[in-house]
């Protein structure tokens, strides 16, 4: 039973620097896995500096569920284990070897495997963490039985990569990935964008229920899709991942190897020639910073500008990311900036002259554009959050650490990424996403 869901509230940010649909190769000397990419994870290291690893060799595991393994994206030698405050592990850097060597996993059609065998293979190869769960927006617990799995078939974030381009011509990998996922849950939803140009690979998927979504960002967020198709209730678990991640899963079963090659969109006003780059997961940004980023003070973000991570010019692509955004740093004082007409200012409100130029694209920087204040304006968040949730009440419940209220107001259904636009539009400059994450962490601690 196909559903068509129209999302009315939300916001598409018109930014410059959309990636041209050209794919070129990119390789780095160093690759890294970052335990910090995974919310709430406490890593237990399985390697030390100097060890030699293959692609697919374990680097660390989840301390509280050691079956969940995180593996090396490439073969090579462990160059450095970077630690932060309190010796927290930040990065495990691997220098890539000349010859690619792979750990061998079982090759075969998942359709003829048992769910346990599939889980085992995903866990061992390091692909399991691609599957996340609601509540809490963390890596799925393999011991749970989910109500459903949701696969988002498009990304609606600013300058997001075009999944149709990435998935094009990879019908085998995609369908094999789906075959594995359908074994893990009673129902698998594939949520596609309604409209022209959706890849045949996605449209011809078998064994899953296809739903269509139309409307502005965050329509592509799995959280929004789950909310509209079958919201998470207390005690229920829903798993979710992105269609691009399904490719990696399919490839594992087809090749018997962990080969996390991605086609990553290099986007934003700070890129000389925005385009797609074929690279292996965890690649170092050094070469990109030298070759592709304009002169000046720019920030390199792994992911999109709303939810990504500032990784610096020598950082590494994040585990979940298929996009790199480069934007200008905004560390400057602007004389009477709040009073100017603002023909070039990006705002969801109608308070700047730029409102008079529909279709105009913007090149925003990282300036906060104001000081932090108490909640004053109302109705701002509601306009960009297409969920039946009262955002300000939920945020206040989190700040007050009121567990009951958080539960009643729908904390199980949300993730910080769903509130990213709220944070963007907030005139009081409140750090909405951090507050939501605090709430999720608190809730998880309370329930375990």
């Amino acid at each position: 039973m196909t559903k068509i869901i129209k999302i009315r509230r939300g916001l598409d940010l018109p930014l410059v620097g959309e990636a041209e649909k050209v794919v070129t190769g990119y390789s780095a000397k160093t690759y890294a896995m970052k335990p910090t990419d995974f919310a709430g994870l406490v890593p237990r290291l399985r390697v030390k500096e100097g060890d030699v690893v293959k692609a697919g060799s374990p680097l660390f595991v989840d301390k509280f569920n050691e079956r969940v393994t995180f593996t090396s994206p490439v073969s090579g030698r462990i160059e450095e284990i970077v630690r932060g405050e309190k010796r927290k592990v930040l990065e495990i850097r691997v220098v890539k070897s000349e010859m690619d060597e792979y750990e061998e996993f079982r090759k075969g059609d998942p359709a003829s495997m048992t769910p346990e065998e599939i889980k085992d293979e995903l866990l061992k190869s390091g692909l399991w963490p691609l599957i996340r769960q609601r509540p809490y927006a963390i890596i799925a617990n393999p011991d749970h039985q989910p109500k459903a799995i949701h696969i988002s078939g498009f990304d609606s974030a600013p300058l997001a990569p075009d999944y149709d381009l990435i998935i094009h011509g990879k019908a085998d990998e995609f369908q094999t990935g789906l075959n594995a996922l359908v074994k893990l849950a009673p129902k698998v939803h594939l949520n596609l964008r309604k409209g022209e140009g959706v890849s045949k690979v996605l449209l011809n998927s078998k064994g899953v229920q296809i739903n269509y979504f139309e409307g502005p960002h965050p329509a592509g967020n799995p959280g929004i899709q789950i909310h509209h198709i079958g919201p998470v209730n207390k005690g229920e678990v829903v798993w979710y991942l992105r269609a691009t991640d399904v490719l990696l899963i399919g490839r594992l079963f087809l090749e018997g190897r962990y080969r996390p090659e991605k086609v990553v969109a290099l986007t934003g006003g700070g890129v000389k020639k925005p385009q797609y780059l074929r690279m292996t997961a965890g690649a170092c940004m050094e070469g990109i910073a030298l070759q592709h980023v304009k002169e000046g003070n720019y920030r390199i973000i792994s992911g999109n500008v709303l939810t990504g991570t500032n990784i610096g010019h020598n950082g590494f692509l994040g585990y979940y990311d298929w996009q790199i955004s480069v934007i200008r740093e905004g560390k400057y004082h602007e004389f009477l900036g709040w009073a100017l007409p603002g023909a070039d200012k990006l705002s969801a409100s109608g308070t700047f002259l730029s409102r008079l130029f529909p279709g105009k694209k913007f090149d925003p920087d990282t300036n906060l554009h104001g000081g932090e204040r108490a909640f004053v304006l109302t109705g701002q968040y509601e306009k960009v959050l297409p969920m039946d949730i009262y955002p300000v009440y939920l945020l206040k419940a989190i700040l007050a650490q009121n567990i009951d209220k958080m539960e009643q107001l729908g904390i199980y259904e949300v993730a910080e990424e769903d509130f990213a636009l709220c944070e963007f539009v907030c005139a009081s400059k409140i750090e909405v996403q951090s507050i939501i994450r605090q709430g999720l962490d608190l809730m998880r601690k309370e329930m375990s």
Binding site: N233, G308, A339, N367, G370, L377, C426
Partner: protein, 387 residues
Amino acid sequence: MKAIRNYLDKIKPQFQKGGKYEKFHSTFDAFETFLFVPDRVTHTGSHIRDALDMKRTMTMVIIALIPTLLFGIWNAGYQFYLSQGQEAGFWTIVWEGFLRVLPIIVVSYVTGLAIEFAFAQARGHEVNEGFLVSGMLIPLVMPVNIPLWMVAVATAFAVIIGKEAFGGTGMNVFNPALLARAFIFFAYPGDITGDKVWVAGLTTGQAVDGFSGATPLAHAAAYQIDQIPPLHDLFLGFIPGSIGETSKLAIFIGAAILIITGIGSWKIMFSALLGGLTMSYIFNLVGANPYMEIPPLTQIMMGSFLFGIVYMATDPVSAAQTEKGKYIYGFLIGLFSIMIRVFNPAYPEGTMLAILLMNTFAPLIDHYVVEANISKRMKRSAKLTNA
């Protein structure tokens, strides 16, 4: 501009921790951020942020108030010369009105901002922009003859008891500007009621024969329905009244600015208008006295009804916070404004009391709206556990 920046950078260390004027950090910060948008960048979460901030927000409301202010200044002069039975040129009228209105604005801002700065200083907070709007609203809801010391006392009361006691901008229960007006209304009723206070010079001087200075509402309350000025005079605002309330045209321009920029809630304005018309129409049907028989359109054009629902009811902090709640909140304000106006024998206008009353009930309205959402979610979960 560069020179100002350099100067600020030079003296900044003295206002920071360990500096000579550390105590005046908030004051320095307020002036610095007024002149320059800070160079702070995003660290967590969204890397880009909307260019809209609190200063811009408040500026927009002030811009929306400017038409009413300009007309108010002109009308203060116009009513003065009318009461004296003299002819005067446009600029003479404006100058007269300007001299009458400016002191009230100055007193309101100086008193309010001094208190805001002192509180921010004592708390070590940044200075909030909220008073920029309240400071303009207070003069606009006053009669032009209001003694200045009363403006100062009322402003102080509104800011200290109405706002800072609750924790500052964003935490207040009542609209500060309305609180200032209500304070004068209850503490010094003689100076804010009657026929003499609305026209400059009437409290002390003499008017020409035949000029009473009575507002349309006063006529209505006295059942002198034929004395109410025609609709187009009510709309354009050539009538006595509080400084900012008389011209409905200016208020409509302001409302348009608030709605287009998205700063003021059209839901509140629209539902309040609907509430006012509904109540007037119901009174028309009852028709127990001449006041009740006033047509709905005339009813909403009189007094401060439109000024109240456009600028006061939409104050986001004291209004209902939920979108559904805003409809209920606005509608009841409209309803009560007209109801109080017609039933209250002591005071001809009802908008102020209606908005303050609904400020009190706004959290309750929100509570029920949010409870409905919660119970929907709980029912969904309960169905699951039973199945």
